[in-house]
Symmetry: C2
Subunit: 153 residues, 2 copies
DNA sequence: TTTATTGTCTATATAATTAGTAGATAATTA
DNA sequence: TAATTATCTACTAATTATATAGACAATAAA
């Protein structure tokens, strides 16, 4: 099971966390988000567009424009971000709820042990990504940062 | 998070379940396993070799030869099969225990929220695949088969 | 109303990975 | 010796990931 949060999904999550940290009403420009997070700007363009089209971000063109969250960070699930950028979370199509597809080599879907265990895996993944929100991610990074802060003068 | 039990991993799991269903001492030939499970024979050759080199299968050449499990099915974890064929199970390298690697774009690994949630995902996946054995898969397919059996005369 | 700025969209290019194939070689049995 | 079966090396094709280029559209400020 290879690395399969691709750069696209990773960049998208980093970017949306960046936006979630803005003050209410504030926007950030793609170029700024890209630079601050070491993300290729043009690549990020396409990613933010996907997230916007999925209803998670709003955008404004022109000087002073940029991107911002379209709704509260606590209402945006990590799973929604991943699905918008990477597609279904199931490790195999026959174990997907949203995009089920039988394997061509499958004899009987009801007795396939691979499908059975991969369905469990899917549920386990969903159990994490669909209960963790972007607000949680912000919280965690702050909590971790303070744990590692150097308070010595 | 794209389908990422690849065909290789899927074929390997199907094949090892096939072998786990053999009588004690019995072997099966690659050609037979391939045909019965709709797996390209040459591809399966390479897969079974990997599993053999990982110590899960034993093989014998020549007429009457073939493959068999090298140890009891209950001692072979699904996670071991997947790791042998697909590599580490973590969705991203920075969340892997066995093959950790920091992202090039990562500012601080300790405060990265992507790594944090993906570590949770990794643990969730491991929680399934490292507690499910090949024997469990055999059991399940039998249980499911009897559920769907048509007992009417 | 012009100009600079910023997001939007389409098309294309490169690299990596997956999925498989071809064909020779080695071991074993009859 | 001949048939059989696994082993190994090398190669090809298809798909996906990772971008990049450049035109276009909307907005704000001068």
């Amino acid at each position: 099971m290879n690395p399969v949060l691709t750069n696209k999904g990773k960049y998208g999550l980093k970017a949306i966390v960046h936006l979630a940290r803005l003050e209410a009403g504030e926007t950030a420009q793609v170029a700024d988000v890209a630079q601050r997070n070491n993300i290729p700007k043009k690549f990020l363009d396409a990613i933010l567009l996907d997230l916007r089209n999925a209803g998670m971000l709003r955008s404004k063109k022109g000087p002073g424009g940029g991107y911002a969250l379209a709704k509260p960070a606590r209402s945006i699930k990590v799973g929604a971000v991943i699905r918008a950028l990477e597609g279904p979370i199931a490790p195999i199509a026959c174990a997907s709820r949203s995009a089920f597809r039988a394997c061509e080599d499958c004899g009987d879907i009801d007795t396939c042990p691979v499908r059975s265990v991969m369905s469990d895996v899917r549920d386990a993944i969903a159990g994490i990504v669909d209960t963790t929100t972007v607000a949680d991610l912000v919280q965690r990074s702050i909590a971790q940062a303070s744990l590692h802060a150097d308070y010595a003068i």
